[in-house]
Subunit: 229 residues, 2 copies
């Protein structure tokens, strides 16, 4: 039954779909920090009942993107302060270094291929931005997603579900951080990021394990440097 399948898929997607919508708005900085997220308001806007909205917001609260106070509802979390940015980069270093090393040892060839492919896609989004006359929102969004996807390759190929799920939470914060940062600028750090990614991919392709780890560390420290000045 087509209708049945559609119904089931829609039901299944209900909570997940709402989560995705709110997640996108949060990571793209559509809402200001401290802004209230009304459960009933979101339900009305999305034409659903408050119940699935509540469920979606619970999972977003656990990821740290929104905060909750009893009887006061949810508000958009404050952007990360200096200490939190350092901690986030530090945590990413821990997890991503471990993941890269494990992916390298488990399946070097596929890692090299996937990184090259993800890097190509990333470069193409950057070129689209450079060809456009101004910073288009959708293009920036695609660029950041390609960036995230590059890093996710480590986790996917490390094939450790616990490391991978831990990294998802970090990636959400990193993603939001990028967008907040980009909003206050008229220029992105395209060249630096792509070159650092290229270094990582190249070292992996050379089958240089330690060199790849060092390139990854240099990249994340570079990110921190560019963010914190």
């Amino acid at each position: 039954m087509t209708q049945d399948e559609q119904l089931r898929r829609e039901r299944q997607a209900m909570r997940t779909e709402i989560h995705q919508i709110v997640f996108d708005r949060l990571t793209t900085n559509m809402w200001a920090p401290g802004e209230r997220l009304s459960i009933d308001g979101l339900a009305r806007e999305l034409n659903v009942s408050p119940t699935p909205v509540r469920e979606a917001l619970v999972s977003l609260e656990l990821s740290g993107l929104i905060t909750y106070r009893a009887q006061r509802g949810y508000v958009v979390a404050q952007p990360l302060d200096q200490v939190q940015i350092d901690d986030l980069i530090d945590a990413r270093l821990v997890v991503e270094r471990a993941a890269l090393s494990r992916a390298f040892r488990k399946n070097w060839q596929e890692l090299a291929d996937q990184l090259a492919s993800a890097h190509d896609a990333h470069v193409q989004t950057a070129e689209r931005i450079q060809r456009s006359d101004r910073l288009d929102y959708g293009l920036v969004r695609d660029y950041f997603e390609a960036d995230t996807e590059f890093h996710r390759q480590f986790l996917t190929l490390a094939a450790n579900e616990f490391l991978s799920s831990m990294h998802l939470s970090l990636a959400a914060h990193a993603h939001r951080m990028r967008h907040i940062w980009a909003n206050g600028r008229d220029r992105l750090d395209l060249e630096e990021t792509l070159e650092e990614h290229n270094q990582i991919a190249t070292r992996v392709n050379e089958r240089n394990h330690d060199g790849a780890l060092e390139a990854l560390q240099a990249h994340l420290l570079g990110v921190r440097q560019r963010f914190t000045g």
Copy 2:
């Protein structure tokens, strides 16, 4: 107003309290893997409405202790298989080594004190078990909690909220793993665990950074060894 505070605390605790109750039942293996968790049933049993129960179950699903299928509700997750146990230990190695190292460098003195204190508490729970004639449920529970608390010291003193929250999820699985394992035995690995913890605390107390990390690694590998035979 005492009544107001009580009310507010109770409201605040509602979702959290339910989460805690179900979490305890899951980690202590009170329910068999695959058993269904009825939302309405839990609500009736706990004398609350289904709404806060749903919220609590969402967060438990994210931690991986229960699984969810649309239109079919929640079931207790299957115990970790061999590969997952290896991955869990591996992930704990990554996170706990990093945390121990950071705690060591940031505040060695307090780390040494806290580890000694946590270890003492752990030893006392073990002694209570050894003095009792049989494996009492509450004693075993206290023992495992003291074990977990010892490891949590690394994370607390590493003072990185991201690493700490990542470890919480791992600790939940580890906790459940311990209980499942203990149920199939008449004897715990008290001596080995305490000795390995003692090694870690001693190395830290000697201000031996690398030695402490090696002791931690040896401990986690020992855990895996004892679990997987």
